[in-house]
Amino acid sequence: MQVDVTINGESRSADVEPRTLLVDFIRTHLGLTGTHIGCDTTSCGACTVILDGKPVKSCTILAVQAHGSEMRTVEGLRQNGNLHPIQVAFKEHHGLQCGFCTPGMMLVGRHCWRGTRHPRRRRSAGRSAEISAAAPGI
């Protein structure tokens, strides 16, 4: 089935099987490998993308469900060639350990940061809760 999306401001499309997961569509069909597959069981959130303005786990959405939507991945965080402030903050405070889940951490971080003046620990939990890198990240 044909899936058309706007991803990081760019129109892209690909022909996929209905069972193709959104994360594989992004990584394999669109070649954007910044979104990582972590637990693959809807827990860790390493695969987080922003779908129509909301952070979601792309391992638990079908690519066909995203047809016609607007998405942002970690590749779309940079603004005019500059790192996004959340990326700068992660870099400056070493908000990571191995870095594998960091794309998801930063996307949720950006969302919390936009949604509230005082992001709270509980709001950002739900990705990477098991990964020890979560502590410095949060």
Binding site: M1, R19, L21, G45, K54, T60, Q65, A129, E130
Partner: protein, 290 residues
């Protein structure tokens, strides 16, 4: 992990969806939030041959007032419930539960109706619906059917929908004055299933309890309505002794299994403590309301 291959349809009207479901029979499954269905399909615990994605049907995402009830449509996400002022006003118990469902990312996709239909005994919503005496609106090609929640929740992952039917809404009576509600959940970490979850609902009139609802999560093969404990409360004036007695009855009605989240005995003790604490919280809300 990949689900087994399936066909996919994304109807844009309810008529189209119910016609498809009628034609597909047991081969078809409704896809709403997909936060339980897709993981089960990836683990090959479920392998429907045709998914009917209802996300493109307009109008199913509404929270509405209908004849003294608050009605939650099939595409209302948990996050919508968390954010809804209408829900806060209409049901303290539902408002108290929503922030405890899964984690914020799952709440952005998963739906309340989907969770109700899934009938996972570790799901939070059916305890709430049992405590509140909810009704499930099932729609098929031949029309609508309203199913009381106690008839809807049949068993472990089993609801009473008939072939060709889908859940289009869940509704609960709007809370009158003098109502309190609280959901208490013990979880190992954010986003985990409940080790124990307890939904409590009370309504008082002139110092007497006129309605009591208690639902239990993760302590049996399905969500449990603690009927005996509820009956002890109705018609009585609240007191610590009464709440303790009801809590003991609710614990006796639970049927937990020992597993990675703890031994059965521990879970039963948590049920007792949480029912007592939940009832006290309800009473506190009612007293505050004055």
């Amino acid at each position: 992990m990949y689900p087994a291959p399936f066909d996919y349809s994304a109807p844009t009207t309810l008529e189209e969806a119910t016609a498809l479901l009628a034609e597909l029979g047991d081969e078809g499954r409704v896809l709403a939030g997909g936060q339980s269905l897709l993981p089960m399909m990836k683990l090959r615990l479920a392998s429907p041959t045709h998914l009917v994605d209802i996300n493109r049907i307009p109008g199913l995402d509404r929270i509405e007032q209908v004849n003294g009830h608050i009605q939650i449509g099939a595409l209302v996400r948990h996050a919508d419930v968390v954010a809804s002022q209408e829900i806060s006003d209409a049901s303290p118990l539902i408002a108290s539960t929503a922030p405890w469902v899964a984690d914020p990312l799952v709440r952005n996709r998963g739906t309340l109706c989907g969770s109700v239909a899934h009938c996972d005994p570790e799901g939070d919503w059916n305890s709430v619906m049992l405590a509140l005496g909810a009704e499930v609106v099932a729609t098929s090609r031949s029309g609508e059917r309203v199913i009381p929640i106690e008839e809807f929740v049949v068993d472990y992952f089993t609801n009473s929908l008939q072939s060709g039917e889908m859940v289009t809404a869940v509704r609960v009576p709007r809370a009158d004055a003098g109502t309190g509600g609280a959901y208490l959940k013990l979880e190992r970490k954010v986003g985990d299933y409940a080790t124990v979850g307890v939904a409590t609902h009370l309504r008082m009139e002139g110092g007497t309890i006129v309605e009591a609802g208690i639902g239990l999560t993760s302590v049996g093969p399905r969500n449990i309505k603690a009927r005996e404990a509820e009956a002890m409360l109705v018609g009585q004036a609240p007191s610590p002794e009464l709440f303790a007695e009801a809590a003991r009855a609710a614990a006796a009605a639970s049927d937990p299994a020992s597993d990675v989240r703890g031994p059965a005995e521990y879970k039963r003790a948590v049920v007792e403590a949480y029912v007592r604490r939940g009832l006290e919280t309800c009473l506190g809300q009612i007293s505050e309301e004055g």
